[in-house]
């Protein structure tokens, strides 16, 4: 589980049911704040939010060790936070302020926190799957037990890079776990219309000699179990895994998308499966009083709101920053 030195982020040391709930609530609130900031014109460029998909990011991160690697897509805020990235630095990046986690050069689609093992958010569909293979390959070359977890969407299973990466991972038996967040949609098109099989990832696992693993992606405990065992298998030299996690995005593809293409009934039905409600009922069954969770919500809300105030108060970035981070020697020139 990630931890944030500044103490403002996902700081759960224990992975208790309440800790997981708190982290999901934190991510949820964080994304809602970004959503409204976007609508207020405070976010420059597109913003893709994982609202409704929190259980996958939080559940998966909770089974990783600090040295493990994860990598994801433009819909990556939750994954960065779940590994322990500083929420304020992420927020500063989203709002285009100084001190952004990518120095103002990544923005919403490229949130990265290598310090916390999150090797980046990539905005070309499928592109990061081969990169995940490389992170995993390095672990074997370095005789490290590092495991790499790679998150991507259902629509990604139809692009060439997915196929090449899964095949290489399987042939080289790399310690990488591929997690398909099946939120049922590409941008505006349901994935069911674009695959000749029922399950986008699971029904393709056998093509790579892998087991068809599926999990309820809105159940954080189930995610911990399934991803956790795949991670330990990979860590033990058992090779890669491909997991399909069923979920649903509660809003549009990006913050600009009203998502009118989705049947109201479908949206309602999935709303009832909200991962936060799910964890609340689990905890209720364990006898945790509702007001305790309400208190968590309130605490999370105020800490995220404080973050927003601090990020907003941050100065604008220095235009000269456009010329840094180009070449590794600090130079930004291509010629003399």
């Amino acid at each position: 589980m990630g931890s944030d030195p500044a103490g403002t982020g996902l700081a759960t040391a224990d992975d208790t049911g309440i800790g997981l709930y708190r982290d999901m609530a934190f991510v949820r609130r964080f994304l809602e704040v970004v959503d409204s900031a976007y609508r207020d014109g405070e976010v420059h460029g597109p913003a893709h939010l994982g609202l409704g998909q929190e259980a996958i990011a939080v559940g998966a991160a909770s089974v990783l060790r600090p040295g493990d690697a994860s990598i994801g897509t433009y819909r990556g805020h939750a994954h960065a936070l779940a590994r322990g990235a500083s929420p304020e630095a992420v927020l500063r990046e989203l709002l285009g302020r100084a001190g952004g986690i990518c120095g103002g050069k990544g923005g919403s689609m490229h949130i990265t926190s290598v310090e916390h093992g999150y090797y980046g958010s990539y905005a070309i569909v499928g592109a990061h799957l081969p990169i995940a293979c490389g992170l995993a390959w390095a672990a074997t070359l370095q005789h490290s037990d590092r495991v790499t977890v790679c998150f991507f969407g259902d629509g990604t299973v139809n692009i060439g890079a997915f196929h090449e990466a899964l095949n290489l991972a399987a042939v080289w038996r790399l310690p990488v776990v591929f997690v398909c967040e099946n939120n049922q949609y590409m941008e505006y098109t349901p994935i069911s219309a674009m695959i000749p099989v029922r399950r986008p990832a699971a029904d393709r696992a056998s093509a790579y000699g892998l087991e068809p693993l599926t999990v309820d992606g809105n159940d954080v405990n189930a995610v911990r179990e399934v991803v956790g065992s795949a991670v330990e298998t990979a860590r033990g030299g058992g090779g890669p895994a491909l997991i399909e996690a069923d979920t649903y995005r509660l809003r549009g593809h990006s913050a600009a998308d009203p998502a009118a293409y989705r049947p109201a009934e479908e949206v309602r039905a999935w709303g009832a499966k909200d991962p936060l409600l799910r964890q609340r009922s689990v905890l209720a069954a364990e006898g945790v009083p509702a007001d305790e969770l309400d208190a968590v919500d309130a605490a999370v809300r105020s800490s995220v709101d404080d973050l927003l105030d601090r990020a907003r108060a941050a100065p604008a970035p220095d235009p000269q920053d456009a010329w840094t981070d180009m070449w590794s020697d600090g130079d930004s020139q291509w010629r003399n």
């Binding site: 460029g45 285009g96 952004g100 923005g107 490229h110 499928g126 692009i159 456009a322």
Partner: protein
């Protein structure tokens, strides 16, 4: 008169061509919903799902299917949502589409168009969604390259691209989509390979393409205030390139400033500059200047975008600098 935005101009041109030739078919991601930039709005309702086809996220399959269909007598128009994604299907574009007519000794003809959103525009799209990719294509013979500068131009040039019997890469600058102009009556068609004299001038020639045409017009206004008469040329197409018009203007004014939004490291601006410097050398009174974007991947924060972008101010400064030194 009705208003025409550049995004509507795309749909209007496609509708115009689909109506006159039923071999014209569309394919791409999410296009039946109108497309993520709303450039195909209404087309599926009018022409049906056979001729307006949603695809999986499979750019190689999209472009390859367009090529195969063109070989078999159709006239496909494939949408590549952001030009940056050409990188995921570049083999189909440069190794297959650009070469197959030639390498088969003319046995096939490929009347197809690949089109989509292109360019920077300081819109916060960042390094993987903000590139102008016309230069990638210009390095490879066999592709026609079009990049319009406004709504009416968009409609007429796209119509010509669809009617062309060779493969055309059509680059729609995403910052132009919301721009409005009065929509002219009737069919629109602007032939490929003919540059547009945007404004006449005598002291300096500003060579522009797509988004930089507007930038050069603003620069020309400012230069006029400084008593300098700037001629503005919109190349419209890189291949075929209307070199004659550019050279003619260069010989007349003796001063050329080429304005490209892309990184200057290598791009069409260098190609045109090399051409002018070689073929109009003896008429130049000042070196050919290039104004182009920073040689970095695009940042996102507004202040950083501003630092790497091309502005009218930079164009004006370059033009004045030369006159002050050489007149």
């Amino acid at each position: 008169m009705a208003q025409l935005t550049a995004r509507n101009a795309v749909a209007a041109a496609l509708a115009q061509e689909m109506a006159r030739d039923d071999r014209v078919v569309l394919l791409g991601e999410d296009i039946t919903s109108g497309g993520v930039f709303k450039t195909t709005a209404g087309l599926v309702d009018r022409f049906g799902t056979d001729r307006v086809r949603d695809t999986p996220i499979s750019e190689q399959a999209i472009v390859g299917a367009a090529m195969g269909a063109a070989m078999a007598g159709m006239r496909p128009v494939a949408e590549i949502m952001f030009a940056d994604f050409y990188a995921t299907c570049w083999d189909q574009v440069v190794n297959e589409i650009a070469k197959t007519r030639y390498m088969t000794g003319g046995q096939v003809t490929l009347p197809l168009v690949l089109r989509g959103a292109n360019g920077f525009g300081a819109m916060g799209f960042g390094s993987q969604h903000g590139q102008g990719c016309e230069n990638w294509a210009m390095c490879v013979p066999g592709l026609k390259i079009v990049a319009p500068s406004g709504p009416v131009e968009m409609m007429g040039l796209l119509a010509a691209a669809v009617r062309d019997d060779d493969p055309v890469l059509f680059f729609e600058h995403k910052a132009l989509y919301p721009l409005k102009e009065e929509r002219p009556e009737g069919e629109q068609y602007i032939p490929l390979g003919v540059a547009r004299l945007v404004r006449e001038g005598t002291d300096v020639t500003l060579v522009a393409l797509s988004i930089t045409v507007g930038i050069c017009e603003r620069a020309a206004d400012e230069l006029a205030a400084h008593g300098m008469s700037a001629e503005v040329i919109d190349l419209r197409t890189l291949v075929p390139l209307d070199a004659r018009t550019v050279l003619g203007s260069a010989r007349k004014t003796g001063r050329v400033v080429i304005v490209e939004e892309n990184p200057g490291q290598l791009g069409w601006g260098a190609g045109v500059a090399a051409l002018v410097a070689e073929e109009a050398f003896h008429d130049l009174v000042a070196p050919v200047r290039r104004i182009s974007g920073g040689n970095v991947p695009w940042p996102v924060a507004r202040e950083l975008e501003a630092a790497v972008g091309v502005t009218a101010g930079r164009v004006v400064a370059a033009a004045l600098h030369e006159t002050s030194r050489h007149t």
